[in-house]
Symmetry: C2
Subunit: 381 residues, 2 copies
């Protein structure tokens, strides 16, 4: 099968990921629980993983790298831990449900005021909207680095500047960019970075995390054992224990660290360029096919995602044909981004998303584009 659903999860991982996980399964006890070699081995491996990710994202404090089970959990922790009654938060219509649903809930349960910057029909935002929506009580601006539907990349440095000029915090959902393009907390002005392990970072499912700038105070989401300060009735105050209750996914974290090493050794810029090349190659081949609508903006920066529709055919039907007849894996439907689909005018039809990884081959791109052309040439059903 030609796997072009890397925005959902990357399938091909560096072999070092599996090796690290196997080693962890054989040798790692419970991190932060006990002082014998096997527990310490887990603690060391987990701490080294924090150091790797801190270096990778330019987070000044490795102990402010928090591990979670996925970026949805990261975003829940961050939004729930930062926003209180009376606070105002700004986000965008481009967001995934991992941002929209927690915000919807905080609005209902805590009376948090939520404003969303709207999207154009090309999936673009007007940056002056962030400025316009600012209020004195704006606590946070949170947005995706790149849309998981159109692949459009937002200028997060610019949004950070706007947020900071109003004394608001800036949090980023890097689900579609971490591991495939530069995400630099210092350079981009990110206060809180949420990441997931199993997409561009090439790690296993079950991993994700948060990098927190020193001084940012996020309340605990879960409570429970941490292996430290066990006699406290409350969650310990210090990161990472404050946000990490319960046993960590040590084998997953070991695999993620190996994946980050792979990316660093290969060179993030090499991976970025490779993905841009593949994306452009596919876009150029499909954009001119009669009956094909491609969504998003390909003049600005773009992640490794191309979403399209064939005439008015249901996206599930097209994705099904691609899978069944051509052996090509894509993702149809709403991609958990309902407001952006509304903006694009595709709420009923959905869209067929093709998404690439650094392991995707040119021949796969070409076969996928040929398959799209072939489907587009069929008589209308």
């Amino acid at each position: 099968m030609i796997y072009l659903d890397n925005a959902a999860t990357t399938l091909k991982k560096p072999s070092a990921v599996k090796e690290a996980m196997l080693l962890a399964l054989d040798t790692m006890g419970n991190s932060s629980r006990g002082a014998h070699d096997i527990a310490l081995n887990a603690s060391r491996t987990v701490y080294e993983a924090r150091e790797r990710l801190a270096a990778f994202f330019n987070c000044t404090r490795p102990d402010h790298v928090i591990f979670t089970s996925n970026i949805t959990e990261s975003l829940n922790i961050v939004l729930s831990g930062l926003l209180e009654a009376g606070d105002h938060v700004i986000s965008t219509e481009l967001e995934h449900n991992s941002v929209l649903r927690p915000l919807c809930r905080l609005r209902e349960e805590r009376n948090v005021a939520v404003d969303l910057v709207s999207s154009s029909r090309r999936g673009l935002v007007d940056y002056s909207d962030f400025e316009r929506l600012m209020r004195p009580e704006t606590k946070l601006v949170v947005c995706t680095h790149a849309s998981n539907l159109t692949g459009n990349v937002l200028d997060i440095s610019r949004i950070a500047q706007i947020a900071h000029s109003h004394n608001a915090l800036f949090a980023v959902d890097s689900a579609q960019t971490a591991g495939t393009r530069k995400v630099d907390m210092q350079k981009h002005g990110i206060d809180v970075l949420c990441f997931t392990g199993h997409k561009g970072l090439l790690g296993p499912q079950g991993t994700g995390g948060i990098c927190i700038r020193e001084g940012v105070d996020i309340k605990p989401f879960k409570s429970g054992g941490t292996g430290v300060q066990s006699s406290l009735c409350r969650q310990p105050d210090r990161y990472p224990a404050r946000l990490e209750a319960g046993t960590l996914n040590s084998p997953g974290i070991a695999g993620l660290a190996a994946a980050v090493d792979f990316i660093a050794s290969k060179g993030l810029n090499v991976i970025s360029e490779r993905e841009a090349l593949l994306t452009l190659r596919f876009y150029e081949k499909v954009r001119g096919i009669p009956g094909i609508t491609v969504y998003g903006d390909f003049e600005g920066e773009h992640a490794g995602i191309v979403s399209l529709n064939v005439r008015d055919l249901d996206s599930g039907l097209v994705s099904g044909i691609l899978s069944d007849e051509f052996g090509i894996a894509t993702r149809p439907g709403l991609h958990c981004a309902p407001l952006l689909h509304r903006a694009l005018g595709t709420k009923a039809q959905g869209a067929v998303r093709f998404s690439f990884s650094c392991f995707t081959e040119e021949a796969e791109i070409d076969r996928a584009a040929a398959a799209v052309k072939s489907i587009s040439e069929r008589p209308l059903p």
Copy 2:
């Protein structure tokens, strides 16, 4: 190293666990995301894992088996999702911080009334206390099946009867029993069962879950994408999506399912008897050593745990000697069970916990007991 810290995490796993995880890493897309073979393969594997666990715990509905990253998350979801302002909950002093800390927080944040059944100096509860503490507004009784410190097993059927006779729900923390002794939702009258994958179930770290009796209504803890009903602003209502936001730990879940298969094929009763034998063997060898205090009750049912102290030596010191000089891994300190340590009179000293798995060998038990004897015979420091 002789690994006797299985109550923290089992180290030796069935080889099928690793094989299942490797297969998952190579072949599984994102469960519930997309309809191509690779995503469907993940969905199928995850659903089969739900069926395995439902059968294992005698939960009537596989779709009411929720996957989490560990039992601490399970307990947070359950306690936060069941208890509202004005509710009363009963638990015990035997609990782990994974129960105590969420309850402490719900008391503070939601004004939930919390009563704890006290522990004797042998770590036993008086069952009439549950009855005595019942109030009309008691919504829930939650307790551990076996103490992670003493290994004492509670009569959960009896507690369930008391809870149900007062129309309260009964939730169980099976961290120290799932996979090593029978936990049967129907037979024991459990409404909500929390389990962890990486201890007695012999699965990987990063896995855990909740089995929910049909009709029990637990509010969402996290919100986000589920791959279904994406246009809703709120979390979908149906289990499992209601409690599972974000990408699951598919390789971990595949490994856990393989581990459950291993236990079922080996026979849970065989494993139970093996562990009881090892535990008794160790207990019998250490109980009479001068200067040794063993905690807990060995007349009733007992999990594979023996905690002890050598005179008034700090438990961390003894555990360190066991590790450094004898190559034996144990866990000292408070074991995240501060109230029980207070009841046992060991809040300052902690205790040295020896915990066994079905893979522990008799020779390892004997060497550990000999090491305890040797340390006990040293001159007082």
